[in-house]
């Protein structure tokens, strides 16, 4: 792994370090955040940034810095688990259909065509408002939208590998489907899966943030960045910091994530499937 470093573009290395920082904040943040994220009136409402409140306080006198730090964990947990689940299910589905081909593949691909044509944000709004806004449901909804998209990409990659001689030879040797899948196919599509995971984590942060902003994410007073931006909007003139801090939080997460993905994809010789999320 370390031997790769000289090949990584500088932008991807810088982006990678910022991502590590985000990870560290998510893991350790609650240990050193100065205040509780939900406790009101830990300072005067609308207090501007000072040594006592690094990023000021919001309309309820909550410490914005602590809320942003705790929010990191909320945002990363939700988006990474949604992406992980979606990519895991999608990649398995793509691997199986790409290897099996035949009627199973046909049927699954038609279902996938239909699933992909569903407009994500609109359907997510309806589903969340119908079944109630729970973090678990949000994760499942986002994963549901990723499964067909990942499956399609991984299936295409699998189809390319299945045609190769070494798979034919493995089949001729009489190896089991399972052994072929994890010894021959998986090592050859893992790059595709990694790029899918990286790019979709960024989309998930944006999607979940937007849901939070629209009021369909985790309910208040959860420290979630999208929700914080929406709540701070009303007081944008009096307390701009309450809006800027979570907005910069999201931007400083997604931009490095995509820069990193771009660099990683180039190293792995993959094209990045940029999409309109």
């Amino acid at each position: 792994m370390l031997a790769w470093f000289p090949e990584w573009p500088l932008s991807a290395l810088i982006a990678g370090s910022i991502l590590v920082l985000h990870g560290v904040i998510a893991l350790t943040g609650p240990m050193w955040a100065p205040y509780s994220p939900t406790k009101i009136l830990v300072g005067q409402p609308f207090a501007s940034p000072s040594t006592a409140h690094l990023l000021g306080t919001d309309n309820l006198g909550r410490d914005v810095f602590s809320r942003v730090v705790y929010g990191e964990r909320t945002v990363l947990t939700l988006s990474l688990s949604a992406t992980g689940l979606g990519v895991l299910c999608g990649a398995s589905l793509g691997l199986v259909t790409g290897y099996a081909r035949g009627w199973l593949d046909e049927v699954v691909m038609r279902i996938i065509d239909i699933m992909i044509s569903i407009p994500p944000l609109i359907l997510a709004l309806l589903v969340i408002s119908a079944l109630g806004s729970s973090p678990l449901l949000l994760v499942l909804t986002v994963a549901f939208f990723y499964v067909p998209r990942v499956a399609r990409v991984v299936r295409a990659a699998t189809l390319r590998v299945v045609m190769e001689d070494f798979v034919t030879i493995a089949r001729a040797r009489g190896e089991s489907a399972w052994s072929i899948a994890h010894k021959e196919l998986l090592p050859n599509v893992i790059g595709t899966v990694l790029v899918e995971f990286a790019i979709r984590s960024g989309y998930a942060v944006i999607f979940i943030g937007s849901m939070g902003f629209l009021g369909f994410g985790p309910p208040p007073p959860t420290p979630e960045w999208g929700l914080m931006v929406n709540q701070g909007r009303e007081y944008i003139v009096t307390a701009p910091w309450a809006v800027v801090a979570p907005a910069v939080g999201i931007a400083s997460l997604v931009v490095p994530l995509n820069l990193f993905t771009d660099g990683m994809a180039r190293l792995l010789g993959q094209s990045v499937p940029w999409e309109r999320h």
């Binding site: 038609r110 407009p119 944000l121 119908a130 009021g215 701009p240 931007a251």
Partner: protein
Amino acid sequence: MLIRLVASRIVISLFSLLVVSWAIFWAVEWLPGDTAARVLGREASAESVRVLRARLHLADPPLVRYGHWLEHFVQGDWGESLAADRPVVRYVFPRLRNTLILAGLALGLYLILSLTIGVVTALFHGQVLDTWLSVLTLVGMSMPEFVVGILLVLVFAVAVPLFPPLALMDQVKTFPGLLYTLSLPILTLTAAMTAYAVRMMRDNLIEVLESDYVQMATLKGLPRVRVVLRHALPNALGPALNVTALNIAWLMGGVVVVETVFNFPGLGRLLVDSISFHDVPVIEAIAVVLASVYMLANLVADVLVLVLNPRLRAS
């Protein structure tokens, strides 16, 4: 072969639309609380709740109601808004008009910007400006619309009060006034669409610029501008159309977020409001309209890819 493929895409899209309309109907039916009781409020008598339930056919089995609803919907009868007590069509159309104005202006600006920037990137391919544009497009693509919108408000409406922070349509009289009022939401939508298009067009243009016939044109000694404009650009236009169709599909979700940021009285904002008012017929109508445009734009993008890239037709 091509016609068969396109026809199968259209059939799949129609079927998807049916599935999606059904999903929308189900999701809305599942909204918590009894619609009739919710609309009439807490003081409603049992009798009036019963009457309204009968009027809304709430006692029928869901599949029957879906059939009813679909039949009326395709005939243009979208029911009565529960919150506004008006026909949904009359309630939704002024909002649809507003959204079309906003989306249309954003698309216009997007076309001008992305074509210009696309040509500039091609002309300066491999130079410093190109590198910066490439980073800039990636940043533009990575920013959620609500973050871009709110940052624009902070800079151009709060810190330097150049433009209005909210896009309120009722004071708009003239076209310049319209542009002034909508400047920030237009910019927000345009930024995301342009970043994506330039990124896609750039990758494609680079491929075209490295192709044999463009190299040939350069070796013949043609000026750079002529090579790019006459030889390379026409071949990049197809993918640009495809990207534009994808951008239009994206707009259907983008307007929901951006209209919320700027309190703009459009379809997206009405959808979010109607969900909290539990206004079932309005939610269904807007969701179906947005979903249809989304799916139509995606269909166009798919068909364009098939028409423009014969290699893909085989699979």
